[in-house]
Amino acid sequence: MAENFKRNDGLPPAMTRLVKELSRLPGIGEKTASRLAFNLLNRPRDEVIALAEALLEMKERIGLCGECFGLSDAPRCPICADPDREHDLICVVEGPADLMAIERARTFAGVYHVLHGAIAPLDGIGPDDIKIAELTARVQGAAAVREIIIATNATVEGEATALYLARALKPLGVKASRLARGLPAGGDLEYSDSATLTSAISGRREL
């Protein structure tokens, strides 16, 4: 399914290069990429520089929080650094976009753990390929963890990850729960609305 990149005949090489880079982005086809490129061409120079700098700064400064592995431009993200959050309540999500979806719902006062993926047997992604060992180490190192809410997606991969986590957390004697089943209808947490997420969290069941 390699996207066949057609040569833009008549386009200066610098434009062709930009169109090619833009069309690598998800959801951007060649047509959209050309439109964006022409739009950028017609913008004031300082706006284009600001965009280029923002891209570079994002790439250079954004790393992972040392505690929750969420995106952060500091060693510790604002959520982990916030004394008002409940640090003994950890919500485990697959990716940063899921964390953002739950934050948008403004219903969860604990902290997070971002796995950066899910166990996907058919893709050969196993427990060691995502941040599960980091979670168990974090639980063992913490003073006390009241509960771990497993908020992986309602997909086969998300369920596999939740079942594996339940197994891994059991010997540590920590209470683990799973989001109410079936609530995020399409499976992907990041596409769920706030009301759905709120009821999924409040309706969670113990594993």
Binding site: M1, P121, D123, G126, A154
Partner: protein
Amino acid sequence: MPAEESTPAIVLRARDYSESDRIVTLLTRDCGKLGGIAKGAKSSRRRFERKLEPLTHLTLFFRRRPHGDLVFITRAEPPPAPAPILDDDLGKIALASYIAELADALTGEAADSADAYLMVARAFDALGRSGASAAMRQSFELNLLRVAGFGLEFARCRVCGNSPSEAGAAAYFVVARGGVVCARCRAHAPEGAVRLSPANAAAMAELAGAPVEDAARMTDAGAEGALALARFLGSILDRRLRSAALLDSLM
């Protein structure tokens, strides 16, 4: 526009393609193995909901495209019979994934894969009912290999035709022969033959001759049987199955 076709199907593989589309590989009852694209699968819950996930049974509606290998998936509906529950146990997910990947590897796009579809459907049903076990895995491997034209022989010596287990002696699995040779004919077995104890050789013969539904009540052929099957699969597949790692770690 080509007519809409429909068939029961099982999703073997699925991946997101672009922001809203999904590309899936399906084993179907009536139309062989198909690759398809579902436009807007991630946004149109009404047409697709969660059904285009790997390991799912569904009734597939699609149109063939005059150019291009992928069929155009128009919608997915629930399967004709209730689908087994596979995602409530890690062992079930791991074995079902392995079954799907092995079936994918052993069936060609154009080939008539109705038998493979039925075998996977029956294995999923058995797995949903009884949970994962080594016997279930070995039974599926043996049955699917038979359907794919690789009937392995464990009941009779490939050289003299006698039953190796009757003599109460070990048997030796030879990949190139697709079966065992008995202890007396061992001179015909090359260096790398896999030794099977009498009990494991007998278990292999039983599993090879029994339907996958019976596997839950049967004895597996141990690590020796697993090794024999792994060696044979390794000889006919061009790559190691990705799902094997998780499955091996669980059983």
